[in-house]
């Protein structure tokens, strides 16, 4: 398992590395001292795991995650960020408090192995095409003070709002700074369908399909959202569905 440590303090990084020598399966492939460096290294090296400090000069660890297309497995390391950690509402996330207790580290790594196993079991061909995001991939969404790790499969709908995209999942619809076109490029078109200029729909979340005027269609999603499919895309939709 390849990991990157991102922390602005050299001593904190070296302390964590020392603790990780007990886990030969975790290989530290890089270190970064701030968020921008971290983003660069994550995008180049594509690690399986990131140890991430929250408070860093420039951007915080949360900002870093929000800029990534695909969020890797993350273990937060922080000295005392009660408030930052409260930001996570639903998702179980793992974090280590510095100075790190070896027992807590062992638990976190075990949990990680368990999760990895589960994922490879359900999605055997996960790593086939890394440029395309699959259902099992997670994205990190930050909206003001609240943060979520969301599996793509849980997302019902992306809606374009200016330069932002509104992400609909469960009872939430936070905004992310990404254009719909950029998202479309990275999403698997078998699951995520561009219904019209403003919406990308998760086809597995469609509950009802009704004919609409002008030869279009109206999709009703599991969350109750009603999305119109443009005439041109209706042809494509019917083609895909008739298979």
């Amino acid at each position: 398992m390849r990991a990157i440590i991102i922390d602005d303090e050299r001593l904190a990084r070296s302390e964590l590395k020392k603790l990780l020598t007990d886990y030969p399966e975790i290989e530290i492939v890089a270190e970064a001292a701030n968020a921008s460096e971290g983003i660069e290294k994550i995008e180049n090296l594509n690690p399986d795991l990131v140890f991430l400090d929250i408070q860093m000069p420039g951007k915080t660890g949360f900002d870093l995650l929000a800029e990534l297309d695909r969020a890797p497995h993350v273990i937060f390391t922080t000295a005392y960020d009660e408030y930052a950690l409260k930001a996570f509402e639903v998702n179980a996330l793992d974090y280590l408090l510095k100075p790190v207790e070896p027992k807590r580290l062992a638990d976190a790594i075990q949990k990680l192995h368990y999760q990895e196993e589960k994922e490879t079991h359900f999605n055997p061909q996960v790593n086939v095409n890394r440029s395309l995001l699959t259902d099992a991939d997670q994205v990190f969404v930050k909206d003001g003070e609240r943060c979520w790790f969301v599996k793509l499969g849980e997302i019902r709908l992306f809606e374009s709002v200016g330069n932002y995209a509104k992400v609909y999942f469960a009872g939430n619809k936070p905004l992310i700074l990404k254009s719909l076109n950029a998202l479309e490029e990275r999403l698997d078109e078998k699951t995520f369908f561009r219904a019209n200029r403003k919406h990308i729909v998760n086809l597995r979340m469609v509950e009802k399909v009704e004919p609409y005027f002008n030869g279009g269609l109206l999709l009703e999603l599991k969350g109750g959202e009603k999305i119109e499919v443009s005439r041109r895309q209706t042809v494509k939709f019917k083609e895909m569905m008739s298979l």
């Binding site: 303090e9 001593l11 701030n34 005392y80 510095k98 100075p99």
Partner: protein, 349 residues
């Protein structure tokens, strides 16, 4: 307190009704009425019946908590009470006259006329009694409220001081401990020093709760320890400069105040800079003030611009200890440069 009040109440009763009694005699004397013994005895029934009635009236007022209820709600009840007690008072008087057979022979009035006349007379005495009783309690109540408010204010101030004093950032403590753990292998002697420095800071932050002021020298030593620890964390990202006039070392300063300001300079300033920054501490006399200046790399962001808890409370704390002349301000003095300035008036002897 209650016993004292009760005694006071009885004195007022006796004095008040005694005054009524004496003034009746006085008027009778001036208007040249015949001062017979029977008349005197009859007159004496007035204060007696008055005290009995008003005492009962007081019991009613206390039992049903009429003092605490809004006046407009209680007014009808009070009116009825006044009428009832006036009648009651008259009945006592008439009964007294009958029992002691003090009737004056020349005037023979029927019972209802006597009752009505005497009720009106007594009403004229009971209404002022009630007014005095009520106004005394209103004054007393507002005085008690004022004392309560003052006490509360003092308590709030004391609590405020305590919370400001004991303010040491847990984030700093845990980060320092983490660095020290890494140092134990890398540089054991530095690690040992660091533990001493951390204990100094913790000790003085605990003592700070007990002391009003400490010498600037003591405070500066804490800050030196603190910055040495932060230097371990930030390494070459943190540069520290001192510019201290030695004569200022004996000046009194509030404990942990400079430390808090330096901590903020690092937390909001230096630690946010990608390439690091510096903290400069200056202490000097200027005019009739001891002037403490903390400069650091960074920007003032809106949220801490004068209104943040730390900054307002720092100013309050200074003014509580050193009077209105003491001041504290923080501002940007250049591109990426923030300055915090503390002014403490110096006693010139």
């Amino acid at each position: 307190m209650l016993r004292k009040n009760y005694k006071y109440y009885w004195w007022c009763q006796v004095a008040g009704w005694g005054f009524v009694w004496l003034s009746m005699i006085f008027f009778a004397y001036t208007f040249d009425q015949k001062l017979t013994l029977i008349w005197l005895k009859r007159i004496s029934l007035v204060p007696f019946a008055g005290i009995v009635t008003t005492h009962l009236l007081r019991e009613v007022i206390k039992r049903y908590n009429w003092l605490l209820q809004p006046i407009e709600k209680i007014l009808p009840k009070l009116l009825i009470a006044v009428v009832a007690s006036s009648i009651f008072c008259s009945l006592i008087q008439i009964a007294g006259v009958q029992i002691l057979s003090l009737t004056s022979g020349n005037r023979k009035l029927d019972f209802s006329t006597r009752l009505l006349a005497s009720t009106l007379d007594n009403g004229l005495l009971i209404v002022p009694w009630l007014l005095i009783y009520y106004s005394y309690h209103y004054v007393e109540k507002s005085r008690r409220q004022q004392v309560g408010t003052l006490k509360l204010e003092a308590l709030v101030k004391e609590l405020e001081l305590k919370t400001i004093k004991s303010h040491i950032n847990p984030h700093f403590i845990f980060n320092a401990l983490n660095s020290i753990r890494a140092l134990i292998d890398e540089n054991p002697s530095r690690a040992r020093n660091a533990i001493t420095e951390l204990s100094n800071i913790l000790r003085s932050s605990m003592q700070a709760e007990k002391l009003e002021t400490v010498s600037f020298e003591k405070e500066l030593n804490i800050v030196r320890d603190y910055l040495a620890l932060e230097h371990i964390r930030f390494e070459d990202r943190l540069k520290v400069e001192y510019e201290i006039d030695e004569d200022t070392l004996d000046q009194p300063v509030p404990p942990m105040m400079l430390q808090t300001l330096v901590e903020n300079a690092i937390k909001h300033g230096v630690s946010k800079q990608l390439t690091g920054g510096f903290v400069k501490i200056k202490s000097d006399f200027s005019d009739k003030f001891h002037e403490l200046i903390i400069q650091n790399t960074g920007h003032l962001n809106g949220s801490i611009n004068g209104d943040g808890f730390g900054l307002t409370s720092t100013r309050n704390r200074l003014q509580l200890l050193f009077g209105e002349k003491a001041n504290f301000e923080i501002k940007e003095i250049g591109l990426n440069l923030v300055e915090a300035k503390v002014l403490i008036p110096v006693d010139v002897k």
